[in-house]
Amino acid sequence: MVVGEFTQDADLLVIGGGPGGYTAALRGAQLGRTVTLVERESLGGVCLNVGCIPSKALIELSHRFGELPALAKRGVLTDGARIDRAAIAQACQVSVERLTSGVAQLLRAADVEIVDGTAVFSGAREVRIQAPHETSKIRFRDCIVATGSRPRGLDGFEVDHVTVLDSTDLLFRREPLNRLIVIGGGYVGLELGTAYAKLGTKVTIVESLAEILSGVEPEIQRTLRTQLRALGVEVITKAVLGELVRTDDGCSLALSAKDVDHSIEADAVAVLVGRLPNVDEVGLSAVGVAVGTDGRVVVDATMATTTPHIYAIGDIVPGPMLAHKAYFEAKVAAEAASGMKVANDAQVIPAVVFCEPEVATVGVGEEAAREAYGEIVVGRFPFRANGRAVVLDAVQGEVKVIADAASSRIVGVHIVGPEASNLIGEAVLAIELGATLEDIALTIHPHPTLSEALPEAVEVALGRPTHLIVQRKASKPVST
């Protein structure tokens, strides 16, 4: 024992104050546990401080600004509209502060003790807390580890916050940027690249794979490509990066794509190439917690690790690194640790991308569905046939619904279009409840709303759409 080191006991210890951690703490407290939460930086984690929340603030403001020319065409004239970057950065910061202080209030109300510092396991039932000026120990009865993830770096593109930027730099930047290269055509690259393009930056997105937003349905990729072109965003796929050279007025990036060499001039480069789980530094392996070959912590359906009384949730366990997945796992872990018979048996985890237009998907894609179910039915409905979308002048995109032909159960819904992120909720519920195409078709949806697009797509799948003209096939029986 180190002299002067102080040991306290914790009934339920939560490591990490991000979406997973604070949710686990709150659910634990609801179940009567005395909860201690350790956070090394700021409550709210990446999501609230430098992720989902500030990025959505920036995206929303850039979206409103980007709509002005179209509004002008329809009679809403806003001459001389301009951007005040400092005020936008301030607005992003305000939304962060409002939400993080909300989380702090919730935790206080639940009597959760918050400990500042970095936790490292020092025994099977004990962690050491490193704070700037002292170390202490916490002995716990049960522990939920929710340490999240950090941005992945890229060799040769070390972030200097001047020429090579990370996502946080883009979120809170107070100065305009004329030319920006975004390395990484994943969801973060698309979201921030699109937002910057709308604010007037000349954006080039560079991706090593054949398509941007790899893994989504090809229709979605096509729609995004068209929209990005309209916004003046250049997309270079199958890119092999060369050297980055700093120049007097910014930088120059050499790359080759499809055997053609390019050199792109820009003011800055943003590296947005995915995230890595924060596993190693927590000292989990020292207490026998198994980590898989993918670098994620091995857990069972109750989120329990291979060491008794230690649970893991969120970005450090397998699956997509998404806050809403962490929220769900947090509740399962807190309940299981408190003796409830629960398991994480969620059928699907939705994913949303706030680009232009928005993308939201849940369940399997067409190809995977065909592999899993054999015969499937697919219905697609374009937003240009939806009344509300026309009124909004947001007709790009479509809803695609996929069902198992034998049971008619819905197994995948893929939306690209206005408000896709808000529309996907119904589809998630449908899959989780095991709804069939008929269930959706027989549910009255309000008119005139974007939500009508899903039942319309379902009716296409059933072969009887109202608002689309179906090309009659010769093979179909002709009515007498």
């Binding site: 099977a124 060799d155 055509g185 994943g186 560079v206 898989g292 699907v348 179910y373 409840l433």
Partner: protein, 413 residues
């Protein structure tokens, strides 16, 4: 390749298979959890030593396996050689994305899932019903909440008709039984406790005597000790004091610090005073041992008990910590229960049960009644070795010492 059971350490030669994570035919990654084995003290998860497929599992859950026995035979794939972490670095850059599974396109929809809402799935889990065996009455075989209630109602008939179930034993009723009653193998620590208890019950002729001690003086004594110890940031519970007092009295009542060697037909009186202490743990009762308690100061006994109790709860004790006791104390009062009849930690002769300290009415010599701190005590003894008078005299002496801390300090060793 054949995989032999390794030495899991601590000089143990066998362990019990508690849980297989995989079955025959499954493929396995190196370091993926393979099997849980339980030794006398702890459950250890053994990771797979190789990547490949599992050809054969040679032991069932519940079996005991000895070090060196072949447990699994693997089919290893050729590409099993560990991948070099220093793969040649291409200049293809956002390669990070290419290696990573795309963040979208995420699903767990599979053909085999049960058609039921999340709320019904949770309800089934809470009621301990395997939803996969419930036949759903909803459209398309959907399992409804009502179906779970019907399922739960079935075991009542099963219990009334257990005989017919045994004789007919049809497959469907067996399914219902499985769905309602949880069955788990008796393994590891639980099995060891079961064996020890049954052996004690079968051999020792056990009688319990009870006493009540007025402990106002003891409460005050301990408070004073803790005021002193508080300056060092320590606290002492009653257990070290009681253990020391018991050890002192065992010097006067040596036949309670003994065991009966049935084969030799001899009573073995132990010279050493090794006091076992029962520790309640979710994994099962543990009895760590304070060795040579008569050579330790009260402060040292307190420290040793703290180490043993924490070690028992975190399953980090070694074999010497858990063996060799000559007399045992169980502090059942910390949880609840005014009196208890402890079972002898066989082959010892006596076990002392310590009840809770509570305010109770006490009748003084002048017949006046007042409230006082009192403690209940019980002593279970093996009547083959000692008689009731001997055991009662031990317990009464204990009561006297606990009532009078001054006398207690004089006797403490």
């Amino acid at each position: 390749m054949d995989w032999k059971f390794p030495d899991v350490g601590e000089g143990l030669h066998e362990a019990q298979i508690v849980k297989w994570y995989l079955s025959e035919g499954d493929s396995v990654e190196r370091d993926q959890p393979l099997v849980d084995v339980e030794t006398d003290k702890a459950i250890v998860t053994i990771p797979s030593p190789v990547s490949g497929g599992i050809d054969k599992l040679l032991f069932q859950e519940g079996d005991t396996v000895k070090v060196g026995e072949v447990v699994i035979s693997f089919r290893t794939s050729k590409e099993d050689t560990p991948k070099s972490s220093e793969a040649p670095r291409a200049r293809s850059a956002p390669r990070a994305q290419a290696q990573e599974a795309p963040p979208l396109n995420v699903t767990r929809v599979a053909g085999g899932t049960v058609l039921a809402t999340p709320a019904v799935r949770r309800l089934a889990r809470e009621r301990g019903i395997d939803i996969a065996v419930v036949s759903g009455s909803g459209p398309g075989g959907r399992v409804l909440a009502q179906d779970l209630s019907n399922e739960a109602a079935k075991p009542v008939e099963v219990h009334h008709g257990l005989v017919s179930l045994e004789t007919t034993g049809s497959q469907s009723s067996q399914k219902i039984l499985d769905a309602v009653d949880e069955r788990r193998p008796l393994v590891g620590v639980r099995k060891r406790i079961a064996e020890n208890m049954a052996r004690s019950w079968a051999h020792a002729v056990q009688v319990s005597v009870f006493e009540e001690a007025e402990v106002e003086g003891l409460v005050k004594f301990r408070r004073e000790l803790n005021e002193r110890l508080g300056q060092e940031g320590r606290r002492l519970s009653y257990l070290p004091i009681i253990a020391k007092v018991a050890a002192a009295l065992l010097g006067r009542f040596p036949d309670l610090n003994a065991s009966l060697d049935e084969e030799a037909g001899e009573i073995v009186v132990h010279r050493a005073h090794h006091i076992g202490v029962a520790v309640d743990d979710p994994g099962g009762l543990m009895v760590p041992v304070v060795h040579d308690i008569d050579r330790l100061t009260l402060r040292e006994v307190g420290d040793e008990l703290t180490r043993l109790i924490e070690g028992a709860r975190s399953h980090t004790l070694t074999v010497p910590d858990l063996t060799g006791s000559t007399f045992t104390i169980t502090n059942y009062g910390t949880i609840g229960g005014v009196f208890a009849t402890p079972i002898i930690n066989y082959p010892e002769v006596g076990i002392l049960g310590v009840g809770p300290i509570r305010r109770r009415p006490v009748v003084a010599q002048d017949d006046s009644i007042r409230a006082a701190d009192t403690m209940t005590l019980s002593l279970t003894f093996d009547h083959r070795v000692v008689d009731g008078g001997y055991a009662s005299r031990f317990l009464v002496s204990m009561v006297e010492l606990l009532r009078d801390p001054t006398a207690l300090v004089l006797e403490m060793r």
